[in-house]
């Protein structure tokens, strides 16, 4: 039993933290968000070339550094602390997982481009009607010759404005909510018939509504089995949730530390407000939520390799705790900052906004409680 990080993992953390301290201050982030593109390709290049983190979790034979889920955890937690907006989750964690597990033709090539920082991926899975159900799809992929033709509309595709490749879930058969008939495709963002409307998100990212109008792709675009893609999607999304939990831990740490620090400085009634027991106890409750979130994040990473049902149960349990911690710690961080917490000028509100979006990303607390219950009770009954 071991919950520590190897020397290499600690070095990865230290070098990334030091890079972000120099290049990713709150002010620099804010300035980048205000540009037309809303991100910094130069930072992405540094991730690839100076820090090597884009390949940290890929096997060595495809150009990576041979790490795994724990390396992703380390990177994501540091990204959470600095509120990094660049599409690491979408490109490396999600895109990389589809390419590794689904192993489509040309996967090694594209992974190589990811590691070099040249390929940016986005995951087009959500649809307006489907809420968090990964199988609720109106988007279709119809056989045409050797390939497919895609039609449909995808909602809030995070990172899509920066991407050159899209991973798209679509129906090759079955009815709208069937488990069978779901397939995954790799689509060139510049392909004919891909129409996107780009916009910023409340937590400083960019996303798109994407319309697929008779988008023709070759047979090699299919990732995983035709019509049997749902287990692959679930696996990748579970890996994404584990990474998201790690990001949340970084966000939560900053929310908590920032609040403790602020209450020590802020004076009212002739003393620092941190001297008031009612606020001390609130901050202890925030601390407990944070520590339980960290424990669940470790648990999630340890269980990623388990059989699908065990893995899914563990991931949903973790996401429930993370979602609750994000809401409790986030709301109370604002409350304890008083009026200052309401201002755009202070970083705390921006951490709160990211925490709030993490709550809903890949499923709310209610969604994951229901998924956990189905796996824990219905399977046992």
């Amino acid at each position: 039993m071991d919950f520590s990080f190897t020397q290499e993992q600690s070095m990865l953390r230290d070098s990334l933290a030091s890079y972000l301290a120099d290049h990713y201050s709150f002010e620099k982030r804010r300035a980048a968000m205000a540009t037309a593109d809303g991100w910094r390709p130069a930072v992405w290049k540094a991730f690839a070339e100076d820090l090597g983190i884009l390949g940290a979790a890929f096997p060595e034979d495809v150009g990576g550094l041979g790490g795994g889920a724990v390396e992703t955890l380390v990177v994501m937690e540091e990204f959470g602390k600095a509120l990094v907006v660049e599409p690491y989750l979408e490109t490396v964690v999600i895109g990389g997982a589809f390419l590794r597990h689904g192993a489509p033709a040309g996967a090694a090539d594209l992974i190589g481009q990811i590691v070099e920082g040249k390929a940016i991926l986005a995951f087009a899975h959500a649809e307006a009607q489907g809420r968090y159900a990964l199988n609720d799809l109106k988007t279709t992929a119809r056989r045409q010759g050797a390939g497919f033709v895609l039609n449909g509309r995808k909602a809030v595709v995070v990172g899509a404005p920066w991407a050159n490749h899209l991973i798209v879930t679509a129906r090759t058969g079955g009815a709208q909510r069937d488990a069978d008939g779901v397939s995954v495709f790799l689509v060139d963002k510049a392909a004919k018939g891909v129409v996107s409307r780009d916009y910023p998100t409340v937590d400083g990212r960019r996303a798109s509504e994407i319309l697929f109008e008779d988008v023709a792709v070759g047979a090699e675009a299919l990732i995983g089995p035709e019509g049997g893609g749902l287990p692959l999607i679930e696996q990748v999304v579970d890996e994404a949730i584990a990474a998201l939990c790690a990001e949340a831990c970084g966000v939560l740490r900053r929310l908590h530390e920032g609040t403790v620090e602020y209450t020590r400085q802020r004076k009212q009634f002739g003393q620092p407000i941190s001297a008031f027991q009612v606020l001390q106890h609130r901050m202890v409750d925030m601390f407990m939520q944070l520590e339980q979130a960290v424990s669940m994040t470790y648990m999630a990473h340890i269980k990623l390799g388990d059989a699908p049902a065990e893995r899914a149960k563990a991931i949903s349990a973790a996401k429930v705790q993370i979602g609750r911690a994000c809401r409790f710690v986030g709301q109370n961080a604002i409350q304890l900052h008083g009026g200052m917490g309401m201002t755009d000028e202070m970083a705390i509100g921006h951490y709160f906004k990211r925490a709030t979006m993490i709550e809903g990303q890949f499923g709310s607390v209610d969604h994951h409680l229901a998924r956990y219950e189905a796996l824990s009770f219905d399977a046992a009954a």
């Binding site: 039993m1 071991d2 919950f3 520590s4 990080f5 724990v70 403790v260 209450t263 020590r264 941190s274 001297a275 027991q277 001390q280 106890h281 901050m283 202890v284 409750d285 601390f287 407990m288 520590e291 339980q292 979130a293 960290v294 424990s295 669940m296 470790y298 648990m299 990473h301 340890i302 349990a317 429930v320 705790q321 409680l369 956990y372 219950e373 824990s376 009770f377 046992a380 009954a381």
Partner: protein, 401 residues
């Protein structure tokens, strides 16, 4: 980062499981199944079997009977005991007093007291709280004055009242915090005394708690003569001992293994019990959401405890996360008893404590005593430093406020 147990750990788990299966007294198991009140002999019977095996005091120094187990092995041992529903070894002697004696006592005191604690020969109780000194323990007023006896020896003459003294009705000896200097700041005038409960002037009076049980007592000390050699550590430095003891209380306080077993029982119960729609209660959307919530919180606590344990195993010591174990652990214990009582429905109400055991069952067996457990378990967020005091401690020591 992994959760793998070593082959040695797995072999140890097999050994522990096999030992319990072969050695746990069947008569005791039967009494537990009938929810009968356990006697002093019942408590000691399992303790003595463990002592004969050399497993009664795993955490002690080896020279006094410790097992030298790793933190992981201790964790496995606590898990196996919980899975087998063994009665717990009472903490007062083994877990609370003994570390004070082997840390602060003289060689003579160690030789005199430790074997009796280890072997389950002497029952100890804890005399800390007083009617006027609960969370503010240092404000205690039980007075101990030095006197010279007629035999020419030095004694303390002890006067005062202790309260909430758990299982003092069985106790042979007690360890007490007393005030030896009332004229200094409260923490600086306290001494740590061992008192023979058969001494003249010691009176134990039961306190019946709201579920009807007799677990705690008032202890009155009326001109009790205590030989000076029964004091542990220096005069007026008993607070040092008391603080050290509170640290020892922390390990295992989360009660994760026992709560996991309790959750299994709750699930069995909620599978048998029916909801309003005639289907198993566990299929009821509202009820099962509460069970799921509890299960998830318990998983988080389990991993927090494992992180603490891994820190101890690596020699780095427990991290800040260990400070939350008491609060979260007791909250979960309480929620568990809440849900068990809810699940019992109508049959939470019958109060059979004073009924003869052969009177015939009322309601399902699993519902028997669940209201009592619920009421009794409210104590867990009050004892051992209330959960509010725990928050004060975390605010000060962990958050630096």
């Amino acid at each position: 980062m992994d959760l793998d147990f070593s082959p040695e750990d797995n072999a140890f788990r097999d050994e522990a499981r096999g030992f319990i299966a072969a050695s746990y007294p069947p008569a005791l198991r039967a009494k537990q199944a009938r929810e009968e009140q356990l006697t002093k002999e019942d408590y000691f019977s399992w303790h003595r079997i463990l002592a004969a095996k050399g497993w009664a005091a795993p955490s002690w120094p080896k020279e006094w009977g410790g097992t030298g187990w790793t933190p992981t092995q201790k964790y496995i041992w606590s898990e196996e005991q919980a899975k087998a529903d063994t009665i717990p070894i009472l903490p007062f002697g083994v877990a609370m007093l003994a570390p004070v004696i082997y840390t602060f006592g003289t060689e003579e005191q160690k030789a005199r007291f430790l074997p009796g604690i280890r072997d389950g020969e002497v029952w100890w109780c804890q005399g800390y709280s007083e009617p006027g000194a609960g969370s503010d323990l240092a404000s205690l007023t039980t007075r101990a004055e030095r006197i010279s006896g007629d035999d020419g020896k030095e004694y303390y003459l002890v006067n005062g009242q202790k309260t909430w003294t758990t299982l003092a009705q069985h106790a042979d000896w007690g360890f007490f915090l007393v005030k030896t200097d009332p004229n200094v700041k409260p923490q600086a005038g306290i001494s740590f005394l061992l008192i023979d409960m058969k001494s003249p002037g010691v009176t134990v009076r039961p306190i019946i708690t709201l579920e009807g049980g007799h677990e705690v007592n008032d202890v009155f000390l009326d001109n009790v003569k205590v030989p000076v050699e029964n004091r542990i550590f220096h005069e007026n430095q008993g607070w040092t001992c008391a603080k050290a003891l509170l640290q020892h209380e922390r390990s295992g306080i989360a009660g994760v293994a026992r709560s996991k077993r309790g959750l299994e029982r709750l699930r069995e119960m909620a599978t048998t019990e029916r909801g309003d729609d005639g289907r198993p209660l566990l299929g009821d959307g509202f009820f099962r959401r509460k069970v799921a919530d509890l299960e998830i919180d318990l998983t988080a606590l389990e991993y927090t405890e494992l992180r603490t344990l891994a820190g101890e195993s690596s020699g780095k010591g427990p991290g800040p996360e260990s400070s939350i174990l008491k609060i979260k652990g007791t909250e979960i214990q309480q929620r568990l008893t809440e849900l068990v009582l809810e699940a019992a429905g109508h049959y939470g109400a019958p109060y059979l404590r004073d009924m003869p055991h052969n009177a015939g069952a009322i309601g399902p067996d699993y519902a028997h005593g669940v209201a009592g457990d619920y009421f009794n378990t409210r104590k867990t967020s009050i004892y051992g430093g209330s959960n509010e005091i725990q928050r004060n401690i975390i605010a000060k020591l962990v958050l630096g406020l």
